[in-house]
């Protein structure tokens, strides 16, 4: 994507690029890279490109360009204003402070290394579509999640004697509970798979990530009340779909009641995720036996 020189000049002034002595050529390349990424190779008319580049966080982009070019004043300003952003984000990710090392390690990547005569900085991945602070938080969150995943892979399995001893349920268990639960899980899997992506994302944020309504709303760009109503509506839709599915499978009303009660009771040692992944009775029974042996 080639951007008209006059438009570059206008953006440069708007970005106050002189403040950090941001090289204009570098700034122009950053605008072009941003547009290329946004339009993914599509050819857009000049007006659309202008609308896009002028909507960017231009001041932040100019600062990032200056930092990537190694300007001392820009770096000083960046460290002064963005270090607290990074540390607050790190503490939000891990209140014990262990994510701060990730924040510190970012500086080296942001400063960059010289490869074939040119400094390669992490800033080249910043395209101005968000504020610099949001981008830094996103980079940190990404590294934190990746580290967490790596650590979890390396975690040893818990020893048997350290596992919680599961108590027997207080009342006799319904003999067909495993079957009912399996039917419920299969029906729910079908019901959730049929939901629109946005509804599934709302469920994932709320149930899998345990975000608050406000945080879920931030992800989806919705008001907190809309998230709440959306969850209630989706839950009711899933319930109706499950009821319909169970009835279609030939279950009588009394059995459908049993299916729902199988969930209402303590799910005990059954792994519902495994049920959803396999849907097999054998695996259910196997896991039940395994867990109860602990």
């Amino acid at each position: 994507v080639l951007i008209d020189a006059r438009l570059v000049d206008r953006c440069y002034r708007q970005a106050k690029g002189d403040q950090w002595r941001t090289p204009k050529e570098r700034f122009a390349r950053a605008l072009e890279a941003s547009a290329e990424r946004a339009f993914a190779g599509r050819v857009e008319d000049a007006r659309e490109i202008e609308r896009y580049v002028t909507s960017l966080h231009l001041e932040d982009l100019a600062l990032a360009c200056a930092c990537a070019a190694g300007d001392d004043a820009a770096w000083e300003h960046f460290v002064l204003t963005k270090r607290p952003v990074l540390y607050r984000a790190a503490d939000a990710l891990d209140s014990t402070g262990s994510a701060r090392d990730l924040a510190d390690s970012l500086y080296a990547d942001l400063f960059g290394l010289r490869t074939e005569g040119e400094r390669q900085s992490l800033f080249r991945y910043y395209h101005g579509r968000s504020s610099l602070a949001t981008w830094l938080r996103a980079v940190l969150a990404q590294r934190y999640v990746d580290r967490l995943r790596t650590d979890r892979r390396a975690e040893p399995l818990p020893e048997e004697d350290s596992a919680i001893v599961l108590r027997a349920p207080s009342r006799p268990m319904e003999p067909n509970r495993d079957r009912y639960l399996e039917l419920m899980c299969a029906a729910m899997k079908r019901a959730t798979a049929a939901l629109p992506a946005r509804d599934r994302l709302r469920l994932a944020c709320y149930y899998a990530q345990e975000l608050t309504l406000a945080q879920t709303g931030k992800v989806l760009g919705e008001h907190e009340g809309t998230v709440s109503r959306g969850l209630a509506r989706t839950r009711a839709a899933v319930r109706k779909a499950v009821e319909h599915d169970l009835a279609e499978a030939g279950l009588k009303e009394a059995e459908i009641v049993q299916c729902f009660e199988s969930v209402s009771e303590d799910a005990g040692p059954l792994s519902v995720r495994d049920l959803l992944d396999t849907g097999g009775t054998e695996s259910v029974r196997k896991e039940t036996v395994t867990d109860r042996s602990k």
Partner: protein, 333 residues
């Protein structure tokens, strides 16, 4: 209705158990990178790209983890949050005052007509709810909508509510009432209308405060939720429009909670405070915790089982309502 609600709770429980993100979710080429994620959070993605990103995240456990981490990090940005909050407050107060005056004007001459034309607050029709869901109104419209729903249903009812809660008014609200009394000078009338205006203002200030302070604890029923503010526990039965204080008798600062149903809620706090209510907060039971340490979060499964996290990151769980505690997370949770 009861059966539907019970079944919704079963679905809620099953969703909670089944949608856990597997720990070994792998990244793919289609996964979001930091730049895309940041653009999404800042509203910098055009509609097609946003829809594609959301569609991917809905099915990708790794990106769900990333979005979850990002959402927590974003909510820790006090400078920007403060900026937004201040921005809101700068127009919220004059807007609310203006809306209150308009409401009084509307309520006085056409009182009966107004009451008839607007449905009672809890009975918002599905169609209108659906409209709001599809096109979330901007904050200002939301507040005005809230205001009109608060005022319109029944002015007399509001008057009674204001009278019954008069002793619980905070200083700021009392000042507000006084200020409004001066502003809305209709001596011949309408204590009821004035009360409604005051009540509406109060409701809005509560809404504003809820955004800025307090930890909210949602229950499976979206209308019922709790809120913690320091040592105070509050409960709402109308989705957060109105909050009622629920005395717990605890002097320690409360920090977090988890509600597994509209009746069962756990709350934790500093110095090892663990509270359990099984009657929707009408009464609270102090659960013994093995250490006098600050507790920072709670995740409950039912009235017997909860996992709590200490401020230094350790997890304790109980499956017998606190009779015994184990230094482990709950299994299959």
């Amino acid at each position: 209705v009861d059966r539907s609600r019970e079944r919704d709770e079963s679905i809620d429980r099953l969703l909670r158990q089944s949608l856990k993100t597997p720990p070994h979710a792998s990244a793919t080429d289609a996964c979001l990178d930091a730049e895309m994620l940041a653009a999404m959070m800042d509203g910098g993605l055009p509609e097609p790209a946003l829809a594609a990103a959301q569609s991917h995240i809905a099915d990708c456990p790794r990106c769900q983890s990333l979005v979850g981490a990002m959402a927590r990090v974003e909510s820790s940005a006090p400078v920007e949050a403060k900026h937004r909050a201040l921005g809101w407050l700068t127009w919220a107060v004059p807007l609310t005052a203006a809306a209150a005056v308009v409401a009084v004007w509307v309520a006085l001459p056409h009182r009966n007509q107004t009451v008839q034309s607007v449905p009672a607050a809890p009975a918002v029709s599905d169609a209108s709810a659906e409209r709001r869901e599809q096109e979330p109104p901007p904050a200002a419209e939301n507040r005005v909508d809230q205001l009109s729903r608060t005022i319109a249903p029944d002015v007399q009812e509001r008057k009674k509510e204001v009278a019954s809660k008069a002793d619980g008014l905070q200083k700021r609200e009392a000042n507000t009432e006084s200020a409004l009394a001066d502003t809305v000078s209709t001596p011949a009338e309408p204590r009821a209308a004035r009360s409604a205006a005051v009540d509406a203002f109060r409701s809005n200030t509560q809404l504003a405060a809820a955004d800025a302070a307090g930890v909210e604890i949602p229950s499976p029923d979206p209308m019922i939720r709790w809120r913690i503010r320091g040592r105070i526990v509050e409960r709402s039965t109308d989705g957060g429009a109105r909050w009622d204080i629920q005395p717990t008798g605890i002097q320690a600062e409360l920090t977090a909670g988890s509600a597994v149903s509209p009746l069962v809620v756990w709350i934790v706090g500093r110095t090892g405070v663990v509270l359990l209510s099984t009657d929707g907060g009408s009464s609270w039971r102090r659960i013994q915790f093995p250490e006098m340490t600050d507790l920072s979060s709670a995740r409950a499964r039912d009235a017997q089982s909860v996992a709590v996290t200490t401020a230094d990151g350790r997890i304790f769980s109980t499956t017998d309502a606190g009779a015994t505690w184990a230094p482990r997370p709950l299994q299959d949770f």
